[in-house]
Homo-oligomer: 231 residues x 4
């Protein structure tokens, strides 16, 4: 096959996989309405992302709603359409983290935690959620112990995607170990080498957000950080 054909085959398969990931996220209440957007890298040089089109109801997401974009968020290839408004954020993550897939979900718990007003003083609070001491953290790539401190940065939400992409880039550089970030009152961005890795990160982080969110609701803000049961 020619190079173009290879890419087409790869794009078609990736588009189906992205659609399946999106429908599962919808079924769990993490991408209700038209919320959420999902992408995977089809080629690295030049950078080509398969990504959900804008304003698609995620419950009925199919491969036909997936577009191919370049690193400026412009559609390439035969399909026309408008890619997700947040395509530039996906590009930023794909480039700075060398991620193979980027998933953005909107859950109730991530929305609540991203408010950032119930954390403790210091870094856990307005600008980050700190999660520490949970076995579930081992589901994040490269983490091998519950004795890990995951800092999930919170960025202010913004409708100006160029400006927001720039701030995302800065945050990724400032927090080189972070597996994810939150947009305030908006949702979660996480990524991975493959769609499977990124989907696992969504599951792990949503679990932890719920556990941390319910614990905060019960005990007050300082609860889930530090505790008597680990150093």
């Amino acid at each position: 096959m020619t190079r173009t054909n290879v890419q087409s085959v790869s794009f078609a398969r990736t588009a189906s996989e992205i659609a399946a990931v999106g429908r599962r996220a919808y079924a769990r209440g993490w991408a209700l309405g038209t919320s959420g957007n999902f992408s995977a890298v089809v080629s690295r040089r030049p950078l080509r992302l398969a990504i959900t089109a804008s304003s698609i109801a995620k419950g009925a997401l199919s491969a036909s709603h997936i577009l191919l974009c370049d690193d400026h968020g412009r559609v390439v290839g035969r399909r026309s359409g408008k890619p997700s408004a947040e395509t530039l954020l996906h590009v930023e993550i794909a480039k700075r983290r060398a991620a193979g897939a980027v998933l953005h979900t909107h859950s109730v718990w991530s929305t609540m935690l991203s408010d950032g007003q119930n954390g403790r003083d210091g870094r856990d609070g307005r600008d980050a959620v700190v999660i520490e001491g949970y076995e579930m953290l081992k589901g994040l790539t490269g983490i091998t112990s519950h004795e890990h401190r995951e800092l999930v940065p919170i960025l202010d939400n913004d409708q100006d995607m160029v400006r927001l992409a720039s701030r995302v880039g800065e945050a990724l550089d400032q927090h080189p170990d972070a597996h994810a970030f939150l947009l305030r009152r908006h949702g979660l961005y996480t990524w991975g080498d493959t769609l499977g890795d990124a989907e696992r990160h969504v599951e792990i982080l949503e679990f932890l957000f719920e556990a941390v969110g319910r614990t905060r609701g019960r005990d007050g803000a300082a609860r889930e950080r530090g505790g008597p049961s680990w150093p």
Copy 2:
């Protein structure tokens, strides 16, 4: 085809779509038992609504449970039966908002928020739920930024449907930008140009009610209005 035939075909297809929307609402716990009712406009002049019959358990809703009504809530066409007791509310919304579909659901969170006793003073409280600053608001038709203030009016519940329809009409006129209203300790009414738009509004609003309801539970009444993270 004659005009009558065209309408019959349209009615049959619409009835199937309404039934599918209703079964999905039931599956999510938003239309348990016989609660909830759903309609779509089949013709505008004269106004004809396809609407769920009264007292149907929504888990087994099928197209055969959908009736055709006129703008006085009277059954027209070949099928007999009793339309939903709340048909006049659907008519009121279809007329004043030029809506193509109207959905009424009963969720736990909308029931709790419609109590209207935990909001802050002023308009967010007894008579309205105010939702502000959430990205998810962009799922409401015409909203393009999270920096939006959605006021969801709360109307007292009433078994007198003529009186309630009249109050609904007044509330729609008073709040021309509202995408929905709540009946106290009863549930949600929302609408859209199409069944798909109205169903998206249900998903968006239920998500927001849960996020706002959980946040109120955690933080106290004034929490979800105003916040440090947007102007």
Copy 3:
């Protein structure tokens, strides 16, 4: 067909329907493990109940797990086995309420509310849950307005089924309008003319228990009774 054959046919169909009701209850988390039991009246004179056998995991409930019992809770007919330990309670309800079906479920919210320690003084508290002012109440047979006060008696749990059946009988007589009762830290009993009616009652009551339970958690004990929004 002879009388016996008619009853056999009726039993077989009823057993299938009971099993389907039970699997749905399990799927919603209302009959986890071996909890819950379900019955329907197959004949009135003499009283014959089709009822779930004892100790069956409800996730795999099939018609073969349904036995035919008389009004002393003894198995009749060809199938052998041990009927549910709580058969006498079903018999008591079937007789005193002339119910056609009796359903017993164990949900988290009914378990919590049946503690009876968070209600207000007077009758809403230790010995009853009082639910008032909710539109959803109209899903209970015979209720036509949200301006209804449903008193759900709470009975202390007991492993002595003869004694408990006797107390159930007394409670049914004392509360002739009740559609259900709770066993403390145990679960819900409700009934109806048909399995469909009884299943609708479970859905309605579980919805209301969750709404009342979450409201109590948020606002304190006196909250859900009386309110400013109805007389």
Copy 4:
């Protein structure tokens, strides 16, 4: 058939059953990502366990992800691969409790309760969750009344599996009546004579953890222990 063939048949069937149990746990949110591991005894002398391989996403668990291990947690038989890191814990339980199946799940509620900081003084608190007075306790093997006090020990989490297995062994000896234990901020271990018994124990305990966890959240720490409604 030869002895080896019999074991092969038994292993194949057991592997399918384990995979089905795992997929159900995943569907309920009790084994998100790669969390959770599941085993069943294939032969007692010598001890052979069928157990989930390490790092498998549980949503796609199939029989091919199940390995056969000996009592040192080493793979035996034709399949190669790395057994779950926690295999030694399964071995310890299978030996000390003569269990036929061991299930380890990670739910939000078990994670929260395993923090052990909200229980009352004494044994219910940091080192155990005490559950008492619930009918649902009768779903635990050998329990015949709600008037039972189940003590679920909480062990500190540890990445050193030899050390943790040793502490698990001690805890099992110290609490000969316990049906389960919790690892702090990690999850639940429970077991049974068969996979069905062990799965029922998961359902029963998860139900009770949610009921106890929600009650603690509402009422404060001392609430679910002792109460006015049983001796």
